[in-house]
Assembly symmetry: C2
Homo-oligomer: 203 residues x 2
């Protein structure tokens, strides 16, 4: 009985493996990707920071530009600054979420300063992966011009450089231009039950 | 004109901040969470590893148990083993995705060995965050019993310990038991255009 089940399983897995091997053999191109992490769920920034870890592990120098979230330095940011100063450049633009500053002119200036830094990091031939953390919030509020950002990524980004843009409400123009888009969807959140943001999980 | 727009913006942000401050004041409890990252999109494991970074930054010791994916050591795993051996314990169970091994009995034994390790790490009072990477695949294939896993998390997990379970096709029983569930949805993927998995992004 159990031997039969295991034999059927082996047969099925063999077919899946053959199909997968055939599929993978058609995927031969390498190129730098435009990645977007959006949606209202968790994990948009933390998976961006997870990719930074991967790049460092592979010896690929990185840069992070944090938009909007400046005041609220997260655990990942602190860690990268302290432990990976050699392998990853780290820039902060902006002074916290916009409902904290209540000053639109200052937010626009901060976002634009961040975008100038972002462009120079993307153009730098040393850098292989650039994380533009929470840039979608700056784009959504029109602190940055979406057409400028998309045009730059499409025409000026070096071919092998990856750029990852995070934040909820990614603009349709950016999704259209991107190679890989993931939407993080909130299925269930403990805030609803009076649980506050937790160290290690949320920040 | 622009001053008027900025003044309206400041007024609106002030209201948002007041509402947010009121909302946050009701969130006072701390507890260890059961977190689930599921869905077919990217970022399930990498945001788990991003949380490991956060915990290390806050001085919270961690453990990772990798289910299923054993053969394919990802960049994050390599990095954690090399650079954070003091702060994060790392265990691998299983020998690669099931279509690679084609041996159901061996996969079951590996998953069960992984679960034994997972339980001892969760029970260890030193450890504050446990990542059970790709355990959902083992649960989905019934290599582990979902009722056992849920019962253990609900009755034996120390109150302040966080446990994060990743992998597509999370079982409904687990989603029901979890505090925070995020579904990563694939919006767009470059495999469709013949682009292969990229170093730093996919592994």
């Amino acid at each position: 009985m159990i031997e039969e089940k295991n034999a059927r399983h082996a047969e099925k897995m063999k077919k899946i493996k053959a199909a997968r091997d055939r599929m993978m053999a058609t995927k031969t191109d390498e190129k730098g990707l435009i990645l977007v992490h959006t949606g209202t769920g968790k994990g948009k920034s933390s998976s961006g920071f997870g990719m930074i870890l991967r790049c460092i592990a592979h010896g690929m120098p990185c840069a992070v530009v944090q938009f909007i979230k400046g005041n609220w330095i997260t655990g990942e940011a602190e860690m990268i600054r302290n432990r990976f100063a050699e392998e990853c450049r780290f820039f902060v633009s902006g002074e916290g979420f916009t409902w904290e500053t209540q000053d639109r002119a200052r937010d626009i200036a901060a976002a634009q300063a961040g975008w100038e830094i972002a462009k120079s990091q993307i153009l730098d031939p040393e850098i292989r992966f650039v994380l533009l953390d929470e840039i979608n919030i700056a784009l959504r509020n029109d602190y940055l011009d979406i057409d400028d950002v998309v045009a730059f990524l499409q025409t000026r980004k070096p071919e092998m450089t990856h750029v990852c843009l995070t934040g909820r409400n990614a603009k349709p123009e950016l999704i259209e231009a991107a190679d890989l888009v993931t939407e993080m969807t909130l299925v269930k959140h403990p805030f609803r039950d009076g649980i506050k943001a937790q160290k290690g999980v949320e920040f």
